[in-house]
């Protein structure tokens, strides 16, 4: 999670007195676009000549050029290796993006996902030829249900936001079955929610009613009761919430929601704090998505692919979408892909073309197998301990918006402590880049001014945390001492200095196009 799009001005700074001839700076290598180095008549893939046949393309053969250049393999390797060297990564360093759970991604999981038995099978093969793949989905689903205390899992959603959509569709379907879909059109969403929550609700025709947070960063049962009514379909609540706090009144909130005839959707983005500690099903949750790419360590890949299975309570289980796994009497596993095979269930429809993110399922399964029940619980405890360790290490210098109290797996600070320094949250974040860290989530949650949300995860050693804390302390003291030059215009050591986002949005250039030929004089 993060906020982009705010105006940022690019500051012209002469930070490199030692200019090089070609713009490279030792290991920081400038790399043109493939369209500037590739050639239309070059290919990096040798392909045998096609057999001679009578064309069956009819009148649809392409005549013109696509304008897509190729690179030979050595050129392509160099291009992408150079690009990769301009990226920060969890393998390279601490990546404390709050609400994103950037934990270690075991390479074993990558190897398992690439076993041909998983990577080289087609989603529509006869089911008798893919029983191992279906068994893995069924087992993963069972484990997710055990961890969450829920009744059924919808495995096909492809990311967290897609899972939210799935959960809200199940709620809509349940309301339809009750004959109340037309009268219950409002979804309650706290101010502190991820932007995906209101966007999801609105996309399927719900209107959003905001629920204010208390001054301690949590939602009160009174505020929920105030907002509840016969027009309310559901509440979408994140727990632990985006302020890094477990909602203390969650059981009472769930009871109030149910009493009012509505459903409780829980945003599970922060599940990493509580795995093995408390089960959402025991708290009264009706639907929750699980980001396998957060809690269960499937790599985020620079923006996906993710995977967002949804677990459902008994009340919503009958409405789980197609496809789902059914155990037959003879022990064989069947993927139910159509209403006609659903055996009494009332699936609300279909979320995507096939069965979900199998590659992610294998990785998450490998992760859970490796951890075991105890290991998963330990991961959550360590994640929470690490976050509190960072919080305590910084609390005398940085301000906590809701007072000095324990957090869950992420520590939240605001910018109160930066007042009068001339340094903003953005500046502070960019200065972290120069120190070799990816910044924390900034300006989110929106309910906190200049928010800085730090999630170290369980993957960090104590020594790594100590150095991180010491670095942030040094930066904080520099800001307070008025050393603004360290912040304004930062980063100074990254492959690029601060980028002009305003310019990018004002006249968008979203693809390469050939430069206009220059007229000769």
């Amino acid at each position: 999670m993060n906020i982009q799009g705010r105006p940022t001005s690019s500051v012209s700074v002469d930070m490199n007195p030692h200019q090089t001839f070609n713009g490279n700076r030792a290991l920081q290598l400038e790399e043109p676009l493939i369209f500037e180095t590739g050639r239309l008549d070059v290919t990096g893939v040798d392909i045998e000549a096609p057999a001679t046949v009578v064309s069956r393309l009819g009148a649809f053969e392409r005549k013109g050029s696509l304008g897509l250049p190729g690179l030979t393999e050595p050129e392509a390797m160099r291009h992408y290796v150079r690009l990769s060297q301009k990226n920060y990564s969890i393998d390279a360093g601490l990546y404390p993006l709050g609400s994103c759970t950037m934990k270690h991604n075991p390479r074993f999981n990558e190897a398992m996902a690439r076993l041909p038995g998983f990577s080289d099978v087609h989603p529509l093969q006869p089911q008798s030829t893919v029983q191992g793949a279906i068994a893995l989905i069924a087992q993963l689903s069972d484990w997710l249900l055990e961890l969450t205390g829920m009744q059924a899992a919808a495995m096909s959603p492809k990311a967290g936001a897609h899972g939210e959509m799935c959960g809200m569709m199940a709620i809509r379907a349940a309301l339809e079955a009750r004959g109340e879909a037309a009268s219950r059109k409002v979804v309650l969403v706290p101010d502190s929610a991820h932007g995906t929550n209101p966007a999801t609700a609105a996309a399927i025709g719900f209107s959003v009613r905001a629920v204010p947070a208390r001054s301690d960063g949590t939602v009160s049962v009174e505020a929920v009761k105030e907002a509840l009514g016969p027009d309310v379909a559901a509440i979408m609540l994140t727990n632990p919430n985006t302020c890094g706090l477990f909602e203390p009144q969650i059981v009472e909130i769930a009871a109030a929601v149910h009493e009012a005839g509505a459903y409780f959707y829980c945003d599970g983005a922060n599940f990493n704090a509580i795995v093995g500690k408390v089960r959402p099903g025991d708290l009264g949750v009706d639907a929750m998505h699980i980001n396998l790419h957060k809690t269960f360590s499937t790599p985020h890949g620079g923006g996906g692919p993710g995977s967002g299975p949804v677990v459902l309570s008994e009340r919503l289980a009958p409405f789980a979408p197609l496809p789902f796994v059914l155990k037959k009497d003879d022990g064989a596993l069947a993927l139910v892909e159509h209403d006609s095979e659903a055996e009494g269930a009332q699936p609300f429809g279909r979320m995507s073309a096939f069965h979900g993110q199998m590659g992610m399922f294998v990785r998450a399964y490998a992760y859970m197998l490796s951890h075991g029940g105890d290991g998963l619980k330990q991961a959550s405890e360590d994640a929470v301990l690490n976050a509190n360790y960072v919080r305590v290490g910084l609390r005398d210098l940085m301000s906590q918006p809701f007072g000095d109290k324990p957090c869950m797996h992420e520590a939240l600070f605001d910018d109160e402590w930066l007042k009068g320094t001339g340094v903003t949250t953005l500046d502070f974040a960019k200065a972290m880049i120069d120190e070799g860290y990816h910044p924390m989530t900034m300006y989110f949650p929106l309910v906190v001014h200049g928010a800085m949300l730090i999630e170290p995860t369980e993957s960090e050693s104590r020594a790594a945390l100590d150095l991180f804390i010491a670095t942030l302390r040094d930066l904080a003291m520099a800001a307070k001492a008025g050393k603004v030059d360290r912040f304004t215009g930062a980063p100074f050591h990254a492959p690029r200095s601060r980028l002009d986002e305003t310019r990018a949005a004002r006249a968008p250039v979203l693809r390469w196009s050939a430069p206009e030929p220059v007229a000769r004089g």
């Binding site: 676009l33 649809f60 998983f118 093969q125 996906g304 073309a353 490796s370 075991g372 986002e501």
Partner: protein
Amino acid sequence: MRYHPLTGADRADMIARVGVSDIDALFADVPQDKLLRAPLALPDGVSELQAGRILGRLAARNLTASQAPFFLGAGAYKHHVPASVDHLIQRSEFLTSYTPYQPEISQGTLQYLFEFQTQVAALTGMDVANASMYDGSTATAEAVLMAHRVTRRRKAVISGGLHPHYADVVRTMSHMAHDAVDDLPADVEAREDIISRIDGETSCVIVQSPDVFGNLRDLRPIAEACHANGALLIAVFTEAVSLGLVTPPGEMGADIVVGEGQSIGNGLNFGGPYVGLFATRQKYLRQMPGRLCGETVDGEGRRGFVLTLSTREQHIRREKATSNICTNSGLCALAFSIHMTLLGERGLRRLAEVNHANAALLAERLSRIANVAVLNETFFNEFTIRVKGDAVKIVEELAKRGVLAGVPVARLTPGTELDDLILIASTEINTDEDREALARGLDAFINGAQ
């Protein structure tokens, strides 16, 4: 546990430093009667060696596409992907980075997204493309929502040639959003009159080409009819390699082009992860869903890239966003882009020609079998056959004999009396022996031939 750096001593020290009595004190806000005391009903953790054995056994229970003559398509295709693609996408800096929120240290991801957007726009013949969607089916549903925003109408007309699962996804979304859908019956031989279904309430028409039965469709008259009625044409493809050889949908008047990018750079993976492609006209840019990467400059005037136009997106606009999409298919888009870069337009055309030739050879061979008919007039690398008998049973039986024959249409749309149809795809992976194995298998099962 090999992934947890904290030692018992670390934990004890850190708990003391934090100033609490024990770890559960940090969970004080959890209702204490809900705190789990009993262990989870999950197996104990195991070593990498042991976990590998368990997963290896599961994997071994699946028949892979490389173990049998393989002819499945219907939205997912087996192609050869150069080894360098997988090597590159597993580089730590690509694999283990987040969405590029901090552009100064994410130029690698941002530049490849910019290149990806350019490639997708060029392939589809459109002005602009986004940084990817989950897959082709969800991209199609998003395209319908976008058309509704652009036209301020709420009825989609769905061709009977659209992949039935894609149509299901659109129907589900439309039902939930209270939008109307006019879907035509399955159209095996591309004979439907979709133009007559367009009226003043139509927001968009969704047409797939090559369609799910393999037919190539002329989008031009449909585009004209759409535009004459103020509607948009959404063109869909599920086999991106086809664009190496067929006229791009953008050239035929499509307003939004969406498709599945799996077949370039990405494996079958039992259905996911894949990569949805999404392209449109410049004038509709601000109604587009998804992430967009744009060019800009840094403080020293050097070219750089950032995520842009985020005022369309959920984290800024919340309930007024164009889509709720957040995480998409970054790494699959990278695999697509690397493979596309290696191919270039020259390699892509050659690859497409081999696919087409292999499919043509196969169609010719199969059409010589009694009680088997190839139904297509046109196709790229996939076509439909009509067989005597139950297609599901035939495909199941051939699988037992070690041939993965194709996708029975009834697998996609049961109960539509299309029980005797099989979709057959052939790519560059197929050999003469493969073709012969399929032909003999079909002949043996249908006609009892030896």
